[in-house]
Structure formats: C-alpha cells, structure tokens
Amino acid sequence: MAKKKQKNLARRKAIAGYLFITPFIIGFLFFMVKPLCESFMMSLSKVTVAAGQGGFKLDFWGIKNYKDAFLVDAEYTRFLTNELTKMLTQVPATIIISFFMALILNQSFKGRTFVRAIFFLPVILSSGVLVGLEYNNSLLAGMQDYIKENTNSAQITATLESILSTTGFGNKYLEMVYSIVNSIYDVVIASGIQIIIFLSGLQTIPKSMFEAATIEGCTAWESFWKITLPMVSSVILVNVIYTIVDFFTKSNSQVMTKISDTMIQRMDYGFSSAMAWVYFLAVLLIIGVFSLITSRWVYYYE
C-alpha cells in the first residue's frame, strides 16, 4: 500500500516535471529539430520559393551546395579559415585574461565596486550591432595614425617587438603573443560574462582552505596552483564552451554576415544552409576538442 502511494507520488512528480518543461519541448521540436532537419534537406537541394505549393520546392541535387561553398565561392573558405585561426588565439587569450582579471577583482582594494562596474561594462558594449559598428569605425583609428605620425617618439610596443625579435628566440610564439597584444581590446571587450562566471567560481572556494594552506607553509603562488586552479577548473570548462559559442555567434563574424546576406538578399536558401551547416559542424568539432582537453583537467571537489 505504502509502496504504491510512493510510486504514485513519483509519477505525479514526473508528470509535473514534464509539464514544467513542455514549453521547451515544444520549442525544441518545432523551432529547433524541424528547422535543423529542413535546413539539412535544403542544403542538399536546389530551393525555389513557390508560393502555391506549401511555400518552397526542393529539388534534390546531392552535395552540390557544399561543393560550391568550398570550391566555387571565392570568399567562404577564406572567411572560414580566418575565423578559425582567429579563434585559436582569441579563445585561450580570453580565458586567461578573464581569469586573471577575476582574480584581481576578487581581492579587496579601495574602489573595488567601481572597478567591477567598469569591467562588466563590456557585457553591454560588446553586444549585438555595437561590435560590428565599432569594428568599421575608421575615424578613431585614423586619428591614432595621425598622432603616431606627428609625434616622433618611439612606441614602446614597437621597440619591445624589435628587441625581442632580434634575439631570435621562438619568433613564432612571439608573433602569436603580438597578435594577442594587438587585439587586446577585442579580448577585453569579449570577456565581460566570463569574468562574472569566474568570480562566481572563485567565491565558492571556502576561505578555510587557504587558511589551512597558509598555516602549513604554502606560499600564495603554491596555493594558486594547488587550490584555486583545481577548484575553479569546472568553471573553466563552462567558460571555454561559452567563449567559443560567443565567439562564433558574434555579429561581426564574417561567415555569419555572409550566410545571412546570402539568405536575405540573394534568397539562395540552399547555398546558405549548406554554409551554415559547415559552420555548425566546425563549431561542434572545436567545442568537442576544447572541452575534451579541458575536461581532462577538471577536478570535482565533493
């Protein structure tokens, strides 16, 4: 008798749970699975918009759209490789810098609330259309060039670069570092949410751990590697995935612009879905690789 009642309760709970997530299930089936399948079909066929017969007509023609994307279209492969190589430096840089900033913002100093407020500003500033416009704004860049030309002072970064490269030590790696330094603004502006997530991770570490470590004779450096890093490693995984997704879907991405332009202006639905699918698979692959690498280091405390 009692067992039956318990079972009933569990069942009622399960039904209630399903009721709560129904909006998502409906949305997922209608606005995610169905379009995904359809766009996959479209990417394999020639799409003609015909108002009479339920909207649009598909003529299956195999992988021609994919071939077009890689072999015929002049821009697509270039944009895609650009995007991917940029990502390889940007994502690790974003993670490291936002982690570093979260560490600083987690310490106590005068005016911390004010500094925090400034650091989270990029959440607003780096969103949507603003990034794209920022990117194209050559007025400010022009001003900068003008100042550079008219003041004969040597630039610190340029001098440093020339000194470092004459030593001939690891030039390739140094170039990578330069490219990150040069795009520091992009990195900082893209790391608003990541800082918040890291901060939340840092604040869950119990203070007693650090105290115990200090009493045992740990230096700050050691307790960073032995306590802080393992304790936030699961947060790092979340951040890696978030950063990759954010990077690929930001609105000034060339591939994204090209896809939606092909769709809206040229009405070439088949070709644009083929390009989108290639993009999607690339993103999935990269997320898979990155999270595999990161999840090997994730440590769960409990």
Binding site: G17, F109, I124, S200, L237
Partner: protein, 332 residues
Amino acid sequence: MSKSLTSKWKRFIERNRKSEGYLLKKIVAQKLYQIARAILIFGLCFLILQPILNKISVSFMEEKDLYDPTIIVVPRNFTLNNYKLVSYLISYWKVLRHTLGISLIAAFAQLACATLVGYGFARFKFPLKKFWFACVILVIVVPPQTIMSSLYLNFRFFDVFGIIKLITGSTINLQNSLIPYILLCMTGMGLKSGLYIFLIRQYFRGIPKELEEAAYVDGCGNLQTFIRIMLPDATPILTSCFLFAFVWQWTDSFYARMFLKGTTLLATELPAITSRLTEYIVSTTGSGKASTAYGLAMISTGMIMTIIPLLLIYVVAQKGFVESLSQTGLKM
C-alpha cells in the same frame, strides 16, 4: 603626536629585528604589489572606457573640428547639433519606443519560459531528463544561422499541421509581425534563451530542498509551491537574467533583421545613419556627399544615443547584474 609616531617606529624596528627582516620585506613586497595592481587596473579600465569617452567627445564636435589635427579630445566648437541631426535622421524617439517595447516583451517572454523550464529541470525527476537537458545544451551551442533559413521560410508560410490551410485555403505570412519572435521567445528558442535556462536551473538547484518539502507537507501543490515559495527566492537570478535578456535584445540586429523587418529598431537603424546623412545633405544643399569622417562621427553619436538608456539601467541595477550570478555556483 610625534612621540607616538616615533614610538610606533621603534616598535616596528623592534619587531622587524625579531623577525630577522621578514616583516620589512613582506611590507615592501605588499606595497609594490599594490602599486603594480593599481597601474594594471587603471590601464585596463582606461582601455575599456577610452572608446566611449572618445565617442562622447567626437559627438560634441562640429564637422570642421574633425579635420583639425590640433583637436583630439576637447572640441573647440562645442555643439549639440550632432544629436539633433541624428535624432532627426533615425526619428530617435519613435525608434526608441519601439526598441523599448520589443525588448521588454521579448525579455519577459524569455524569462517566463526560462524560469518554468529551469525549475522543471532543477526540481523534478522524470524519465529522459538527461536527454532533454542535453537538448538545452544543444540549443546553446547551435549557431542560429544554421536553422534560420528554414525558420524564415517556416514563418513566411506559417501553418500548424496543415490545419490553417484547410480552413482558410492558404498559409499565413507572419514575416513582418511580432508573433514569430514572441513565439520563439516563449518556447525557449529566442536570443540566448538556452543560457538563461541553464543559469536559472543552476540557481534553483542551490535552494535547499527542505523549503519545498515543507510547502508540500503544508498542502501546497506543485504550481503553488513554485509560485509562492520558489519564485520569491529566485528574484536575484531572475532580475539578472531579465537584465541580460533586455540588454542583449536591445542591441541585437540578427534576429531583428530576420523577423522584425516591419519595425524600426535602434539596432537596425544605426548602420543606416551614413546613407541617411548623405540623403539629407543632398536634399538640403542640392548636391554633395557627406564625408566619411562626418558620417562616422554621426555613427558615434548614434551609438552614444543607443547605449545611454542601457548605461542608465546599468548604473541603477549594477548589483543585479553581478551579485546574483555569483550565487549560482556555476558548474557543469
């Protein structure tokens, strides 16, 4: 005064000698670290703020100031004409109202859905739960471009299992109405909806179970428990998700270009400023073309006008943005 200072010094030297120089070293290192940190923080803050400050100063300049190489920050001919012109070009107040309305509606719809779904995932056990949660992750990961082309056509010729076609004889064109977008938001497929579901679920998981059980014992149903007990507890995460949804909706141009072509929004009007400016100049002076610099100055002005409402909200609700997220204890 001086006596106490000297005695302090003496004590310090004494203590320092006892610790064999360790105390002095420690204090010097600490001070050096603090200075280095202050410089670093200042630099990074400047890096973030500089573009905004620059835009603000440009937005107050007259056209001839832009070409004057001696003017960098402070405009010589201070003017408000840029603001007037931009608000005329994009009919600012009307567009602002539209943007405000749509952002509010979309943020509310997204939040309502995300709260329900997040609660469902956090607090109930049901078969296939892991599978559905994996689907949420998938929603976060899929770039909207992949499904856009077919969604676009779906709403262009909207139909539910062919029922509408049976009744009216043709499909409905929902292209230029608000309905598709609201539908997407309400079913958790809007702009970054997956992220909100994830965050809210994480937060609900942190609320102690006893609270809920007490409510059940006292005779609350599932829905009542949710509304009366759990929702008030979740206000911080709800406000912060609402703010995110609002802000991101405000500046989003992708979904807007796709679904809201009939409505003029700030995010879609901004890039059009340059061409409008050229039209305006041609129509007033009869000939000529807006210079690139002037057009860009106009865009800067427009951007300032776009983010000012957001900045105001940010200043007021800064805590809401940040504090609640730190309580979620994000983990995968």
